[in-house]
Structures are given as C-alpha cells and as structure tokens.
C-alpha cells in the first residue's frame, strides 16, 4: 500500500473551543492510484489534504497515524516532516496563482529552494526544463518574474515545481476551482500524465466538483462533516452510489440535455452540522431520508465490495 491513513483526527483551535474538522478518518491508497476527495465546503477535505503535508497554525493533531510506503509520517512534528516534504509528499496548493515570490525570478527561486533542501546539483534543474517543456512552457519562464506570467502559466509552473522531485504522494488542493472548463480539462489531463509518466506515484485530488473527478480519478472518497461517507471506484460512485449522501449528491447534479420542465434541479435541504459541538452518531442523519433510530450511533466505515466502503447503517448494516 502506498498510503495508509488510520483514525486521523485533526481539530482547529478556536477561542470557542475545538472545531472537530477531521474526526476519525481511515482509508488507503494504492501505488499509482489517483483518489478524488470530494465533499461540500467545510467537510474536512482541505483539512485532510493539509494535514498530510503541513499543518496550518490553527490545526491541532489529536489522534491517528499516517503511513507512506511503509514509513510512518510524523505529521504532528513540523520539523520531522521537513525531510518528507517535497521529496515524498508534495502539494499543489489552492493558491497556486500567488504561490511564488513576486520579487524573485522563478528560476532563481527554484534554484534557491533546491539548494536549501540540499539538492543544489544540476540534475534537478535540467529536469526542470524538460518538464516545463512537457507542460508547454518555454525555458524563458525561469528568467521571468511571476507577474510576467498569465494565471494558467503560473499554475502549470507550480505544478512542475511541486512534482520536480518525484514525490510518492501528491496532494492537489482545489486546483481547478478558479478555472474555466477547457482549462480544467487540460489541467486534469496533465496531472494524469504525471502519474502515467511516473513523476508521482499516487495522488489525492481535492475538489467539490464530482464531474472533474469522474474524468481523472480512479477512486473517489466522499466526505461529510469531517467523516467519511463512501469510497469507491469513480465509476461506481457516479453510477451506482450506495451512501444516501452520495446518492443525493449525484442526483442533484444537472444532466446535459435535461430541461427544467421534465426534471427540476433538486438540492439537499438543510445544512451540515457545525463542527464545534458535532452531533453524536451519524452526522448526516438530520438530512437523511433513510435515517432511523440506529443512526444515533456512529456507523463504521465498512467494506461492502472490493475497493468499495460505506459508512451507513441502512445501506451497509453490520
């Protein structure tokens, strides 16, 4: 197994108490697997992504273990994690447009970054040029300041930089949120290309957009209110979802060719619970049409078929 996460709990410290943003998450990703991480805003997907590489100042590790390629990742220890960052685990951040120092030429910044990580040799830098070429950027980019590049160019540059050292795990955090559809497709294809060429072993693609995941991901993990709802191959999630939340999610997606007169867009009434004092038991129960008394107890995330796990008493009773 490439990545193994067990019982991960990460909370946010606030003046009012701990916000239980990530509450007991366990899953595994195989070598070469692209896993999409989907869910609405506030479900904990970004928290999960960030906790695997670098904690925000407000995040607090509570419990759980993470293992990458058989080695334990000390995510709670900022200094110990430095050895893994960039080399084993890397991230394409949400803010890729402003991720580069505006007053430094890009080539110089990368050079200084590599040198500070003890890799000042020319090997990585010539590889850098090759990869820039792969994504359609010329060498000249290295001689420019970030302000001279367009948004798309900056995004591609950041994608290349983040994967330069061939990390085992790449976290792509909402990288398509601000893009138009055709650019989204290009970015998705580039990422899959990285995996196919072996630049990255496995990937976690965080987004709220299920359709892009359907295009590029092998498996999809759906989260709700800090906990896992369902994990299955992308095809299954979209065409044969089991968890009530996933199904409502899929059914609320607009279909091409469907007109309003025939089928109205349906949402899911209500809002996710506040995670400051989350309700006991299944967190989706309040909005779930299948809820019963059993749901007052938290359902376990069990495997219902090969590579398919669900957390729901009704659908996957134990």
């Amino acid at each position: 197994m490439s990545l193994n996460v067990d019982g991960l709990r990460v909370y946010y410290r606030t003046l009012a108490g701990d916000v239980q943003a990530l509450d007991g998450v366990s899953f595994a990703i195989a070598d070469g697997e692209i896993m999409g991480l989907a869910g609405e805003s506030g479900c904990g997907k970004s928290t999960l992504g960030k906790s695997l590489i670098r904690f925000d100042t407000r995040m607090r590790y509570v419990a759980g273990s993470v293992e990458l390629d058989g080695v334990a990742l000390p995510i709670w220890d900022n200094d110990a994690m430095t050895d893994f960052r960039f080399k084993e685990v890397s991230i394409i951040p949400q803010y890729a447009m402003s991720a580069m120092n505006p007053t430094r030429k890009i080539g110089r910044m990368v050079h200084e970054l590599l040198r500070s990580r003890g890799m000042g040799s020319n090997g990585a830098e010539s590889e850098l040029k090759r990869r820039l070429d792969l994504v359609g950027l010329s060498d000249d980019v290295l001689d420019m300041y970030p302000i001279e590049l367009s948004g798309g160019m900056k995004q591609r540059t950041v994608m290349v930089i983040s994967t330069l050292l061939d990390p085992s795990l790449l976290i792509a955090d909402e990288i398509t949120s601000a893009l138009d559809v055709s650019t989204q497709k290009a970015v998705a294809e580039t990422l899959v290309g990285f995996r196919d060429r072996g630049f990255v072993k496995s990937m976690i693609v965080i987004t709220h957009d299920l359709s892009i995941l359907y295009q590029m991901a092998d498996t999809i993990l759906v989260m709700y209110a800090g906990q896992l709802a369902e994990k299955a191959p992308a095809d299954t999630i979209v065409n044969e979802p089991w968890h009530p939340y996933t199904r409502l999610l899929i059914s609320s997606l607009p279909e091409v060719g469907v007109r309003f007169a025939k089928k109205r867009l349906s949402g899911i009434a209500g809002r996710p619970p506040a995670l400051l004092h989350p309700p006991a038991g299944c967190r989706f129960a309040a909005r779930c049409p299948l809820a019963t008394a059993r749901c007052a107890e938290e359902p376990p995330f069990v495997e219902v078929a090969a590579g398919h796990s669900v957390a729901c008493w009704e659908v996957a009773p134990c």
Partner: protein
C-alpha cells in the same frame, strides 16, 4: 519608465513652484506694510540709518513695483541664489547663513535617518520572529516613537550632559578648541555630535522597528511563504524572502518620514544649540528675521524634493514589479 520619471519630475517641479509662490505670497498677504512693521521692530535710532534700511527693504521687497513684477523678480533672485539678507546677522546674506548651517544639519540628519532605518528594520525583523524579543522590543519601540524629539533631546542632555557630564552640553565644538583638521578636533566634533544624533536616532528607530515588525509578520503569512514551507524550505530561506519583500514599503516610508525627521532635527538643534538650520531658524523666529525664515523654508523644500526623487529611483531599482509594470512584459 520615462513616463514615470517625467510624471514624478512634473509633480516635484509643480510642488516647488507652489512652495516658492507661497513663500513669496505670505508676506504680501499679511495685513499692513511689512517694511514698516519690520522697521518698527528694528527701532533704529539714527534716522539716516533708518532711511537706508527702509530703502533697502523697499527695494528688496520690490514693493514699488506691480505684484506680478515682484513675483518675477523673486524668481530671478532665487535662481541667482540670492535669498536676501539677514536682519539679525546683518550684513550676512541668507545664502551664506544657510551654507554654513547645512553641513551640521546634514551631519545629524543623514546618519540618523539611515542608521535608524537600518537598525530599526533589522531589530523589527528579529522581533517578528521571536516572541520573547517581541514582548520587550515592541513596548520600547512604541514609547520611543511616541516621544517628542525635543523631549528626548532634553532628557538626554539633562542626564548625560548636565548631570553626569559624560558629554558636552551644546554647540558643535568647544569654542576654545583650535579649528583645524586634527584628530583632537574631529574627536571634539564627534563628542558634541553624539547626543543630538542619539536623540534623533532613537525616536526614528522606534518607528522603523514597529513598521518592519508588522511588515514581516504580514509577509510570513503570505501565500509564497506557506508554499515554501510546504515544500520543506528552511525558515532561513523563508525569512530571507520575507525580509526582502518587507523592506520595499519601508523604502517608500523613508521618503514620507522626511518631513517629520527634519522637524525633529530642527528642534533637537535648538536644545543643544547645535549650529545647524534648526538653530538658525529658531533665532530667526525669535528675532523676526523674515528673510532667513523664508530662505531656510525654500531650502528645506528643495532638499525634501531631491530626497524624494532619489527614493523613487531607489524603489524602482529594488522592486521588480514596478519596473516590469512599466516596461511591459517580455513574454
């Protein structure tokens, strides 16, 4: 780029013209005949001398000419470097008074401004990193920047010069010393220079330290800092980038702070009787020596405009964003 500089130059020239106009206009806006008021203050007993002085002033003010001609002649004499004659230190010309005073003022201003800027930035950056340092440096810096320049000068003078006699009380050098470029004389100069320099330095230092600390904290929270940290860059590299980026607004701040620091230098000189522009202006005000006041005002304006221009150039060199914004991108 050329447009940028031309634009700045235009504003500075415009400012200079406005300043000169104000300078010329003020005596004329005041009620009464300024010459007669001057005469009244001088209280010259000898009627012959009084006559001469009166005519001198009438000529000097060109009061017999129409207004626009007076304005014109004002510019003419200005461009010839003639700023009039001092009443108090008659017959010294205002220009000579200024020329003799300027080295002392610049000798205080330039080191104090540059050193306080440098030290303030360094200490502010340090304080942004270590909480312990932050808790001690910050209150001190706030106290310093809130201190009026002359009060700190008074404090330092009273404690270190008058009471403990570590430094001399005033003037630029010992009146009895031999004025030659010997080491003893230079040492004497420095001794007298130190306290006024210190009072200017300390107050300005406080302001820079606070500003830099806030800028560094802001930069350390930026996206590029987070990205570098996510890629495992050591704090050393992140701090280096943060510092370079935080210094940019501090450069602009240098130009903006000039007005305040000059005012500070002027009052500090008064406390120490240090023979710079401040001292001269004080004497001029107390003795209603109007030409000197006006002359020094123009001189200060000119100095500030030049300094602003230099800072603009420096900023352009240091910040690639502004440079590129003007030149256009290569891609």
């Amino acid at each position: 780029m050329r447009r940028y500089f031309l634009r700045k130059l235009f504003i500075y020239l415009l400012t200079f013209v406005i300043a000169v106009t104000i300078d010329w206009a003020i005596p004329h806006l005041m009620p009464g005949n300024p010459v007669l008021t001057l005469m009244g203050r001088l209280q010259i007993q000898d009627p012959k001398v009084a006559q001469n002085v009166y005519h001198h002033y009438m000529r000097a003010f060109n009061l017999d000419l129409p207004l626009w001609k007076q304005y014109y002649y004002f510019w003419v004499s200005l461009l010839h470097g003639d700023l009039g004659t001092s009443i108090l230190q008659f017959p010294s010309s205002v220009t000579s008074i200024i020329v003799h005073a300027v080295p002392y003022t610049l000798g205080l201003l330039i080191p104090a401004t540059l050193l306080s800027w440098y030290a303030g930035n360094k200490v502010g950056a340090l304080a942004a990193r270590r909480k312990v340092l932050d808790n001690t440096v910050l209150p001190v810096a706030y106290a310093l920047t809130a201190t009026p320049y002359m009060w700190l000068a008074i404090l330092l003078s009273w404690t270190l010069a008058v009471t403990w006699k570590v430094f001399p009380v005033g003037f630029a050098y010992d009146p009895t010393a031999q004025r030659a470029w010997t080491w003893t004389f230079v040492a004497n100069l420095l001794q007298h220079w130190f306290l006024p320099f210190m009072s200017l330095f300390l107050v300005a230092f406080g302001g820079w330290a606070i500003g830099m600390r806030n800028m560094i904290i802001y930069e350390l929270e930026s996206d590029y800092a987070h990205y570098l940290e996510a890629l495992g860059a050591p704090q050393r590299l992140v701090r280096k980038y943060a510092f370079r980026n935080a210094v940019l607004p501090q450069i602009t701040g240098l130009a903006l702070s000039l007005g305040a620091v000059i005012a500070g230098a002027l009052v500090t000189e008064i406390v120490y009787s240090y023979p710079g522009l401040g001292y001269q202006i004080y004497r001029a005000i107390t003795n209603e020596d109007y030409f000197v006041i006006q002359g020094i005002f123009l001189f200060i304006i000119l100095g500030v405009l030049i300094a602003n221009f230099l800072v603009d150039i420096a900023y352009l060199i240091v910040d690639p964003r502004t440079r590129i914004g003007m030149e256009g991108t290569k891609a």
